[in-house]
Every structure is written in structure tokens, then in C-alpha cells.
Chain length 335, copies 2
């Protein structure tokens, strides 16, 4: 049974391309409020769970020890765009523990946003590991290892205490063990574990509601959510979808993208968590679907905001001369 | 009934993302030699039919009048990368009719290949319409209009003789009328018409075999195919998939990408034509599928080449540190 078409791209009167996928919107009791597709099929959440992986940074006391600001915490949960502000902050975080770029093991890449990469080229720069979109997360990992007096080298390995802690947090939040069968290597070299979409939605719903979490963990998670919602630019970057989604409803939405068409997030006031995956991995589709799902979650309670997010889920597409050629639209099945 | 999964992306032991689609491999008699999915659903072929749209450039005598070389003809069929060679050649083609960049109506865009766009940024350049990936095609349109003494302005409009001729060629080759119901506006502002994948495969099979084409048209088409196969760089660019596909079997494969996950092509010695569409529009999938389909077409007749193309359909994926994380693999259903 295939997943439903959730996002369409039109040209003229026809549907030109289509994206299938699944999503789960869950409340604090773990109940599926809305869903579509196979929410039990294992999905690699990729960067969408960076906030969960950052919980030990706070829980161990590392964040307090090194005096991390909300902007720092947001960067620790980030898939940032590698803009000068992001690069500077990642370096400054490492410096708090006397570390520098050479301690990172995430690898280097040019910024994914074309204009950001062109700006670097204009300045005659080439990227180092600080430009890696995960460098803030990795800085958080290194600060935690430094705080705990652990070996720095090899912190990306699955058996390193940093990764063991991150895995344990996710297991606790999703209520499921993650074994080697569902383990892959992420783009930044840390392990990534696949689990049902539904489980990730439950994890974020637990953070939103506080249900089922030991109080210290609930508070650590909430402080990270608050930091990201207060400082969404550090978590993302100029023109990024996560920035637009979170700036549309400050303090009411946390939404985090993951590679290969994933989004996870939560609505703290509504006590809801969500997770979605576009089968083919397309970011244009996951972004539109995230907006549509947030609109659904806002529902009757926040009609003006629901309308704002619904509009973001239905975008006119234009060509190189600015002529409208069609639309990109996410449509949730009735449920 | 949904299209089959034809391309998968794996991470660890799991399938992380999947791409559905359809393809048709057709012989000179219009018979489906191999196929999958709904080959009768209308598809916008986008740039994959640029060669068909360039046939009038040759048929009208414009190409001969302006002394176009094989490199020029290849550029007239191109979705080029906007590298200096492409830009120079497009300008030179326009100059043959006393025209310049201001005559173009395709719009401007930065080169899609990140390193090409960064190189422009390093040189302090910004793109003009010559950098548009369609500028060679549009130069061909303008040369044809100039040769015929037609109004230059508005050559992208659906009722302009240039577009009327292009539409008529496609209708002749697919054996079907294209009406306004299936018309959309392309990225470069010309009209684009949707038709079944099967029909586009038949069109290219006719060119490969010569069957069902009036001799002058068959010869015009063959000269364009020959030019593209002799000069695939002009048609594409550095590191592009079309370049790799065509350089893997010089003179034996014509393969042209189209936006939103399309490929069309032909194998002249085998008299076969093909067309494919990835439902979600992903280029990584259309490129892998094109390689797999060409491998199937090579079949038993060219075992060494079949193996070369099969290898291109199954690519290791690595992360930012060069560690293998999984694979991108196209798999054709048995047929």
C-alpha cells in the first residue's frame, strides 16, 4: 500500500509532479490526532531530531558550565546555513572549552544556499568544518565531552559516550530501543537511527506537553525549544523555511527540517507534536507539507494563524521572467 | 494505480527514500520493447524535447544560411550549464543575425551548478540571459525567425511562427495533436505541451530508425542528433549526467534531460527511442533511471556497454567525510 500524494506541482491545468509521504500529529497522550500514510514504517529522522540530541548538552550541566546563551543553544540544534554569524558562533562555542575547528569531525561542505556560497566565493573564502550545517550540534557534542572529561577524538563514533547519551535520550523519548539493524551513518558522520514517524511525533508531543518525561529532561528539552523559538535564525538561516515557519507564529511553533524530506516539530501551547516524511526526500515538498500540517494543528483554535500557514502550503511558481507557471500545493487528506 | 518504485536511496541496511516513475523503450515500429508504470499519462517533457524544437532551425535552411557548426547545433539543443564557453557561443550565434542578448526572451538565472556560479561570483560577474540554460535553444529560435524575415519580438509566444513550427514538429513526430488543454508555460517562457511518455519515446524511435518521417525531416533530426553526440559538452556542461551518459558510448547514445525528472533519448544503431518521468521530478532519480534504461536497451547486443551503464545506475553515496553511507540505485522491473 503506497503512501498518499500529499504535495503536487502544477503547470498550466495539469499536475506535473507529485510527492507521496506520511505524517503524524500526536497529542500529549500519544494519540494520533491526524495522520496519513504509513506512520509505522521506519524513517531516518536526520537533522529533525537535533534538538533531542542536544538534550544531554543541557542535562549534563555543560550548557550552564560554559555559559551558553539562547543563540548558542539554538545553534546546537541547528542545520544552519553557514553564514558568517553561524560560523563565528560555532567557533566561539568551541573556544569556551579551549577547542577549535580541528576538533570537529563533521567534515566540510560549501553552504547549501547558493547566494551564501557565492558570497564566500566573492570574499575568496573556502569552507572549513565550521561551515558544515551541523557544526553547532557538533560544538555542543564537544562541549559536553569536555565538561564530562571524556576523550574528544572519535566523539562521532556510535560507542562514544556522546553518541550513547544521544541515542539513550531518543530511545527514552520515543519509548523504543534502537538497535544496530536500524542504524545508518549520517551526513556529518554520527549514527542515525530509523524509527516510525509516529514515534518521533510522540517524542515531540511529550516535550510539548511534559507528559511521560522525567522533570529534569522535560525542562532541558523545553529550554532548548524556547531557545530555538526565540532565536530561529541561528537554527537555520536567511530565507530558510524553518525561519519562516517559526517567525510566522513566534513562541507557538517549533519546526525543524531533516534531510531527505523530513520535518519534526511541536506546538507548545497546544501540546502537540508532529513528524512527516516525503517518500522521495524532496525538501520543497516537506516544507509545504510542514506548513499544511501546522495549519491543521492550529485548526479552529487559532484561525488567523491557521490561515497564515495554509497560505504557506500553497505557493505560486514562476519562471525566469517572473511569469506564473503553476503552483506547489500541499493538501492533507481529510481525517 | 500508482507507478512503481524505480529508484531507491539507501542508508545502512534500509531504504531511506524512494522514487516512483514510468518509462517507455520503443522500437522503430512504435512497439513497446520495455516499459513500466503509466506510459499513457500526459507528461510535460520540458527540455528533453529541445532537439525536436530545433528541427525547424535545420529544416528552414537557417542553420545552413548562418553556417552553424556542430557545436552550434548542439548548443541549440542544450540545457547548458552557463559556463564561459556556452555563453560565448550563444552570443556568437545571435551575432550571426546581427542580434544580441537583448533579443532574448528567456530570462536570466544563475548557473545551476554551484561551482560554475561560484566561479562567476569570483570574477565579479552577474548572469544575463546568455547564461540561461536555454539560451542556445532561443538563439536557434531567433536565427530561424531572422532567416524567415519574421518579427523577432515575441518569439516565445504560442502563436508566433517559431513556436507554431516547433509545436507542429512535435505533433508530427508523436502522431498526436497538442491542444491548449495540455499547454503550460515553460521556465524559459515558451509553451510546453504534455503528452504521453510513450508518444515521446515513439518520436525519438522514429528519429533513430527513420521510420514514419518525411526524408527531409528525418535528415534534419539525424544531423542534430549527430551534432549532440559529437559535441555533448555544448548540450550540457562539466560533470553533467548527459555528458557522462553520452561520453560513455560515443555515437551510440543520445540522452537529454528535462526538468521535473524527465529524460528522452535514442540509440541510433539499435533504432530505439526512450522516454522516462520520475513522478516527483527528482533529477538524481531520472539520471540513474536513464542509465539503467540505456543498459537495458544495450541488452545482449552490447554487453560491455550494458555493464558500463548498469554501473552508472548504481552509485555509492558518501557523506561529508567521504564515508560510504548507502547507495542510489535504479532497478527496472522485469518486463
Amino acid at each position: 500500500m503506497e503512501n498518499p500524494v500529499l504535495v503536487e506541482v502544477t503547470r498550466g491545468e495539469l499536475v506535473e509532479s507529485m510527492h507521496r509521504g506520511a505524517f503524524a500529529l500526536v497529542d500529549g497522550d500519544g494519540r494520533l490526532v491526524a495522520g496519513a500514510g504509513d506512520v509505522d514504517r521506519p524513517v531516518f529522522p536526520r537533522s529533525a531530531v537535533k534538538l533531542l540530541q542536544a538534550i544531554p548538552l543541557v542535562e549534563t550541566g555543560a550548557a550552564a558550565r560554559f555559559g551558553l546563551s539562547e543563540k548558542d543553544l539554538s545553534l546546537a540544534c541547528a542545520s544552519h546555513s553557514g553564514e558568517p554569524e553561524h560560523v563565528r558562533r560555532a567557533a566561539a562555542m568551541l573556544d569556551k572549552a579551549g577547542l577549535d575547528e580541528t576538533a570537529l569531525e563533521c567534515g566540510s561542505h560549501w553552504p547549501g544556499e547558493a547566494e551564501v556560497s557565492r558570497d564566500m566565493a566573492r570574499r575568496g573564502e573556502t569552507p572549513c568544518q565550521l561551515h558544515n550545517n551541523c557544526s553547532g550540534k557538533h560544538a555542543g557534542f564537544l562541549l559536553t565531552a569536555a565538561h564530562r572529561g571524556e576523550e574528544i577524538a572519535g566523539y562521532v563514533g556510535p560507542n562514544h559516550p556522546v553518541q550513547v547519551r544521544a541515542k539513550a535520550v531518543i530511545e527514552d523519548l520515543i519509548g523504543r530501543s534502537l538497535n544496530v539493524d536500524v542504524c545508518g551513518t549520517d551526513g556529518c558522520s554520527i549514527p542515525t537511527y530509523a524509527a516510525p514517524l509516529r514515534d518521533f511525533a510522540v517524542a515531540f508531543a511529550r516535550i510539548a506537553s511534559g507528559n511521560g518525561l522525567e522533570p529534569q529532561r522535560a525542562e532541558a528539552a523545553r529550554s532548548l525549544v524556547a531557545a530555538c523559538m526565540a532565536e530561529p535564525f541561528e537554527m537555520s538561516g536567511t530565507g530558510r523555511a524553518c525561519l519562516k515557519l517559526m517567525q510566522a507564529a513566534p513562541g507557538k511553533v517549533f519546526a525543524k527540517t531533516g534531510a531527505e524530506g523530513v520535518y519534526c516539530g511541536l506546538l507548545p501551547e497546544l501540546g502537540l507534536g508532529f513528524a512527516l516524511k516525503i517518500d522521495d526526500g524532496a525538501r520543497r515538498a516537506s516544507e509545504a507539507l510542514a506548513a499544511a500540517l501546522i495549519a491543521r494543528a492550529m485548526g479552529d483554535g487559532e484561525p488567523a494563524l491557521a490561515e497564515t500557514f495554509a497560505a504557506m502550503a500553497n505557493e505560486d511558481l514562476t519562471n525566469w521572467r517572473g511569469t506564473r507557471t503553476g503552483a506547489l500545493r500541499a493538501t492533507l487528506p481529510r481525517s
